[in-house]
Amino acid sequence: MKKYFLITTTLFKEYFAYRLNFVLWRLRNLISFFIPIFLWMAVFSQNQLLKNQTLSYFLIIHLVSSLIASTTTTDLASQIQNGEIINLLIKPISIFKYYFFRDLGDKLLNFSFAIIEVVIVSFLIKFPFFSYFHLSFEKIFLFFYFLTISLFLNFFISILLSFIGFVSPEVWAPRFIFMILIQVTSGLFIPLDFLPKPVFNTLLFTPFPYFFYLPTKIISQNNPNLNINLAIFFSSFWLILSYIILKISWRQGLKSFSFWGK
């Protein structure tokens, strides 16, 4: 277990080696956090109830996304391309576990700062954030269920995107398209239930709402108005499917990749 702890703490040390980079990273996150908050505050300035519900949603989704979306697996694509992955392949450690525990460090750091940011913003806009949590035993259970699914789904899909490095050096374009797609379809900018009903219902069949929207919606609203059974089925389906594809791609990628000249 100590090796996994060291993987996580080594990542902390790496981050703190470049202090300015660290500060700018947080500043960038803070700006992208402010944009939807102020946008939706302006949209619902006349409707206090909707304004509060939406604010509560965006504050929670900032915390949820800071935990789920932060990942270091983007490095994997360049490691495959420049051959540095060889250093991991020859060690008696699973590459997935290695990156999972690096991600854990990234997530802990991101989440800690996200908490501070949410508290600061709540204070600035005088929003009683904690009074808008809608908690019950069932909701807490569902929240952690969807949060766990989201964590692994994001981890698997992010690694899969890095595996593009096995077949093409152009790894950034697909990842960028995916990032844009996920920002729109996972509720980061628009609460998905604001979308037309047929669009929302269709989205539930895709993996996207299970990244950030579902866990956030469960605890940010009194009555989330969701078909929970359908959501559990499809979130589990996408998780298992992405895991199977991940394992097959890894095996095939290693067998076919040449590392030629690397």
Binding site: I7, E14, I86, N87, L89, K91, P92, S258, F259, W260
Partner: protein, 318 residues
């Protein structure tokens, strides 16, 4: 023991046709045979060097032996393991040092990589301390392990790479051009370290290098590989017997002699008064020495074999 039989590796490489449409939608690939039916055996505690020109298949061989690459054909057995299975017991026995790639965390001191490797390879505290002390002593670099890697010179970084790679005392070490880019002092330090490590830890070492000095100073056995085929497998000293038909007689002349007169004695490889170098067939050596002694006034004479570099160049050209 390492046993390799009929190993073949074929890379598929993208072939540009020049037609944008075809290149974009119907890419064509061609096969490049990196290793062609290669077989060899390496005993425990042997130090073997692979040499060959760029793209000959040296690094590919090492990558297949360490389980990084999947071979297209052939059998490999390393101490009972098939490398590509990547069994943990196998990975604990090997290491791979690449002169052009680093396993160290660039922004952190090397000790952070060492500590992580300690946990990954499950080395106990006493063993870790003992091995680290030992390796830092041999490499004389105790003061470097707490310095950020990005602040180390290439030679210093290479020393840290070796420590990181050898902390778990592997039985088999694959060293891919470990002295590349180093100055002569660092090259010498790394060479003497490799020698000491092999002796002390009874390790099997397979080395690739472009520097013949590495091979001359380290390995008794050499495998020359070219275009994916092993064209020589034997002792370094035997290569001269097998491939060199010539000897070189160097004279320091007493007085200047016309080149035409010298050419009557033997083929001149080099002439710049007072030094003249004759290239003679091995079998003709006693006769030529007798002629020289009788006809040419000189102050000094030396007889040498053909340089290994020259012999290997000839082998590559074949």
């Amino acid at each position: 023991m390492i046993s390799v039989k009929n190993l073949t590796k074929i890379y598929k490489i993208y072939k540009k046709t020049g037609n944008i449409f075809t290149d974009l939608f119907f890419r064509q690939y061609k096969d490049l045979v990196a290793l062609d039916d290669v077989s060899f055996e390496i005993e425990d505690n042997e130090l073997v060097s692979f040499i060959g020109p760029n793209g000959a298949g040296k690094t590919t061989t090492l990558k297949i032996l360490s389980g990084i690459l999947y071979p297209d054909r052939g059998k490999i057995n390393i101490n009972g393991f098939y490398p590509f299975d990547k069994k943990k017991e196998f990975l604990r026995q090997i290491t791979f040092v690449m002169g052009q790639k680093s396993q160290l965390f660039w922004d952190l001191p090397a000790i952070d990589t060492f500590l992580l490797n300690k946990e990954i390879y499950q080395i106990n505290d006493n063993q870790f301390k003992k091995t680290l002390d030992n390796l830092t002593n041999i490499l004389n670099c105790q003061n470097l392990i707490n310095k950020p890697v990005k602040m180390l010179s290439l030679g210093e970084r290479m020393k840290m790479e070796f420590i990181a790679a050898l902390l778990h005392s592997p039985k088999i070490a694959f060293l891919d051009e470990p002295t590349i880019g180093l100055d002569i002092f660092s090259q010498e330090a790394i060479r003497s370290f490799i020698k000491s490590y092999q002796k002390e830890f009874k390790a099997t070492i397979i080395l690739t290098s472009h520097y013949l000095e590495d091979v001359k100073k380290l390995a008794k056995r050499m495998l020359i590989i070219n275009q994916g085929k092993i064209i020589y497998d034997g002792k370094l000293t035997d290569i001269i017997k097998k491939f060199s038909q010539n000897k070189y007689i160097t004279l320091n002349l007493d007085k200047e002699i016309d080149k035409k007169n010298l050419e009557k004695i033997a083929l001149i490889a080099q002439y710049q008064y007072p030094k003249v170098v004759f290239q003679v067939k091995k079998d003709d050596l006693p006769e030529k020495i007798a002629i020289i002694s009788k006809n040419i006034p000189y102050t000094d004479i030396t007889i040498e074999d053909e340089k290994i570099e020259e012999i290997i160049k000839k082998i590559y050209k074949k």
